[in-house]
Symmetry: D2
Subunit: 348 residues, 4 copies
């Protein structure tokens, strides 16, 4: 931690700052400049609240943290990329993982039909929401447990692992019985009790970035999961909130390489929520893969114009199937593969 | 709902849009312009997913909702302002309510001392966090149940009603036993299951605005509480996330009159979180009251430089006590009063 | 300047950083921690480009500036508030200055009528745009020189000083012949050649904050004017761009006390552009004054529903006249006065 | 234009709205719903100020524009993509154009050396700033005319066309004598007089997106250039301002396909400013090409750690040269080529 004193600070103020630091059993390292002084804090651990405390001291201009707020999620702590298996799908490896499926599980037929289309096109994992967070209480909120059962039966039939969202700590146990990956949605990115419960479940967790969550905060949220002994976290960029209204969110593709530099965790991207427009999903999927994404999550629906949620950002089966070979070409261009056709592509 | 067709749409596309609408048992009203056509949807109810569905149809430029996503929270539904009592404190009336207290309950002594200072200065309600959401898992997360018990005993001694945060649905029952107002924090503004559980408790709820939550979404979140039969919701502006880094958040004071125009619910403001800087709290408190806020929530701590959380945005007892008379002057200037000195002020 | 080395940096990297700094004739002050090292730069002047240079060096985590990017505009350089006269109106003094008038000068009659209404209500200065920046080339762009002549004749008749916008350096000389204050609009906040030309004119300058300009950048923009020998700069908050769509901009009232703390310059507020809604102007005007604004700029039009620009955010004469006494009450509550009725109010 | 009346509007208010519209020689189309009424405006032209006027009318909830604010820049007006030549470089064709070079022209040697490296690596066009907009007046502002002369001589020696920034209308004539493309920077995106002057010059214009400019506003800015008879405009995404601080800006790659859908103009991307970090430039370049960008503008410097501006976001010659083949692979994957190696790549 570094404390920068105001121009014109007085000696007593500086002494008070030093005393406040030493009170925590830490030492200081002083650098007196022309107009200001800089105090470095030496020693560990630095109590997290010390920054805010020092900001209240007279004569202090600014207090800067030097260390990160997360540890287990950091590259320094774990230099090699995290790679793990979800059933037979490798996450974080060379092959870019494709998750496809409807926003919401509506019926068994719709889910099965979509799963088959996803699989046929080369997708690896099925998505489908059984518990849906909705902006208004008057919107469709999912089939709940019945939705989970549909996912289970579709998995049995197609062999695709499933990812589905969990909304609240008390549901984690139930959802974890069915899901191969627990999805934590953007609105719950900083729902810390949910993160911890998901961590305890031992099931891999996909943590979507909150709409206004900075990357350091997002990795700190992942730390909540990991601190419970669960190392299998997928970070998923899904768009942030900005002033632009042409898209539902601003899909922050640069977050992908930034997180990969700061962390060893695999990074996925959700171009469906990232843009909110089905016609932007193909180009943004290609861009995400080109930038280094380890996976994509794409909404697919048999009839987007009759979807119970998010139809406007869902691909039809045809559009999804047409996208996969394009993704494979781009992935190949950067030395990776996409989806289940991996070996074939490489053999090409 | 209004559908605007693209320039150059073709007749079949328009017919498909009309057919999609009629499929829901609704009628259409057509307006053919020079280059475009506009389709109005007539009838109720309009299924919430119809907007997204229509956006997928060929030839559609844009689909606009006309009706709001909330009803119980709207001025149209309930033209008179909502006024209710929290013990002997009137919320939503002419008197601006002052909530003061520490970010976190740390010890009984700290809490009692602060409560007494808040009361002596003219504050109405004591705040204090027992369950704290923290960005990093390595920060102080509150005393939990022990914190609630401290608040209870301090209430018994000072007579101040208490507001404290609840983080997760399974805690609502316990927190509601102690709290006079349940606080839902910014990170949980769209935690819908928590909102519903708080709604069911019957205890008044203060709903803080999420960091990137638009006003319509915020009122829709309030709707979740109200739809459970709990009409006593306080909206609390606490700053939104923007590009500006001189303040912790951008305190959106204009949200106060906007919400009061759209809704009958009382609107409070939290200048401590709104700015993140104790030295901005007085001016922003005055501004919030001048703009029509029905209450303020201000962090107060006996020793901000030793607070376990948010010291940098907490007022000392002296600064808090000095602020109240200024607030009273400004309130009086707009025909209102502040805090418990109401009758005296009016008698003035 | 402070350089924070990455965890795991090596000694050669640190030596390279030191060498790069010493190459500029500066010295370093080293603090070696457990996992990182911190290098302080000692000496002056530090070349502005050094920060970016050091960010490219191997092993560097972060480079932080300690000194501000502006000097003449800073409180440290000029501790007392800047106060100056615009004809007989004192700017930056105890009295809050009221600027009123139409967005655009449309006709002499409209301008004169408005000026009289502004003056009668207690306003100090007349605003009116002759050169208008418009988002689309197909919108009304002002009367140009004819507009300036109208303002001149209205000033002669009413005695009100005038403020009007200048869009481009080559117009500064002409506009400065007519204007008592040159207005630099939000879109030109970082149009540095315009700022310098306005600085050279010697005429007081009102510098509106750009829509996405951070406060430090805004003060650096003011520095461009001041560095030309023109100390009479008014900072004007007019709303920033955020994700919220209920208002045209988010009116950042906290910028007022922040700028007043960092700088000696007077700070005004423009609630008309700040909100974009006439019905929010009164409450936001009161809030701005309560927060410490030294002046307000408010759009007033005889017939907002026939204004050639910005009708939606313009007050009618009646609404403007009704607002002034409310402003005076709030100003009095914080020990200030408003507009020309100052002495009377105080005598009250 | 569509006017939505408030719930509970009265008949007189509706009649007033209709009268206001008819006053402009337009007709209305009325749709009376259960709780509201919707008024469509029929006829052309609709005066741009009518929207704001109608927003002031009693009983009006909302006024929506249906038509875009730009015409010449729109796809509807010009369905085929705009393709033009800059010397022998085709802009807007199948080959992705690579612009490389230093942020600022510092010396002839630095510029020539960089141009040769750019050319050798396969770049098409040289960038270099002679007139630099800088946040603080104390930073390096470019060599001015001397910089233009250096660019001219380097072009003569290498054959690379040049792009350089113009800051103010009175410089357009001079800069246009030297530049093959006039660059309008982000801060000047809405400097309308500069846009018009650049339009009049007849030289192709690259229009960077302003930091907080919405896509519709950006296209309206391009309209200013085009309305002067200059059809050769390149749109360049360079990052927008958001709450994220890990990057200098948030590089909005989705703007590329959005603009290409709305407009026929070629769209470039500047990953150097878009991210502010040299180590993010390669991945973001790949992403931009994958998303459909027609060109890239990349900062390249012989010694980024000694650059007079923007060193932190500049590639070394080696990193630039290493990037081009990767870009070619990705471009090939989507059926395009990159830079001057076009024919060879295709012959592959």
């Amino acid at each position: 931690m570094i404390i920068i004193m105001k121009t014109g600070y007085d000696r007593q103020e500086l002494d008070d700052v030093i005393a406040r630091i030493e009170e925590e059993g830490l030492r200081t390292h002083l650098s007196i400049g022309e107009n200001t002084a800089i105090v470095g804090v030496v020693g560990v651990p630095i109590p997290p609240e010390l920054q805010s405390s020092l900001e209240t001291c007279g004569g202090v201009e600014n207090v800067l943290r030097v260390t990160k707020r997360y540890k287990l999620a950091s590259r320094e702590y774990h230099p090699d990329p995290t790679v793990f298996k979800v059933r037979d799908v490798t996450v974080g490896g060379d092959a870019v993982v494709i998750i496809g499926g409807p926003c919401s599980v509506e019926t068994e037929e719709q889910t099965l039909e979509t799963a088959k289309a996803v699989k046929a096109a080369g997708g690896n994992i099925l998505r489908g929401g059984a518990f849906k967070p909705r902006t208004s209480p008057y919107e469709f909120r999912g089939l709940g447990l019945d939705g989970l059962k549909i996912l289970d039966s579709v998995r049995a039939e197609t062999g695709l692992p499933i990812i589905t969202e969990v909304l609240t700590p008390s549901d984690v146990e139930t959802v974890a019985e069915y899901a191969d990956i627990l999805q934590i949605g953007a609105r719950n990115c900083q729902n810390y009790l949910l993160l911890e419960e998901a961590g305890k479940s031992g099931v891999p967790v996909m943590l979507k970035r909150g709409m206004s969550v900075q990357i350091e905060e997002w990795l700190s949220a992942a730390e909540y999961v990991m601190a419970q002994g669960n190392p299998n976290v997928i970070m998923c960029e899904r768009g942030i909130r900005t002033f632009e209204i042409a898209t539902r969110n601003t899909f922050d593709i640069s977050a992908i390489p930034v997180v990969k530099r700061l962390s060893h965790l695999p990074v996925f991207a959700d171009p469906s929520h990232g843009t909110g427009k089905w016609y932007l999903v193909p180009s943004m999927s290609l861009a995400a893969v080109a930038s280094g994404a380890d996976g994509l999550m794409i909404e697919v629906h048999p009839n987007p114009d009759h979807a119970k949620s998010d139809g406007a950002q869902s691909l039809t089966f045809e559009n999804f199937a047409a996208l996969i070979p394009q993704l494979q070409s781009v992935a190949k261009a950067i030395g990776r593969s996409v989806g289940v056709e991996t070996e074939v592509s490489i053999a090409d």
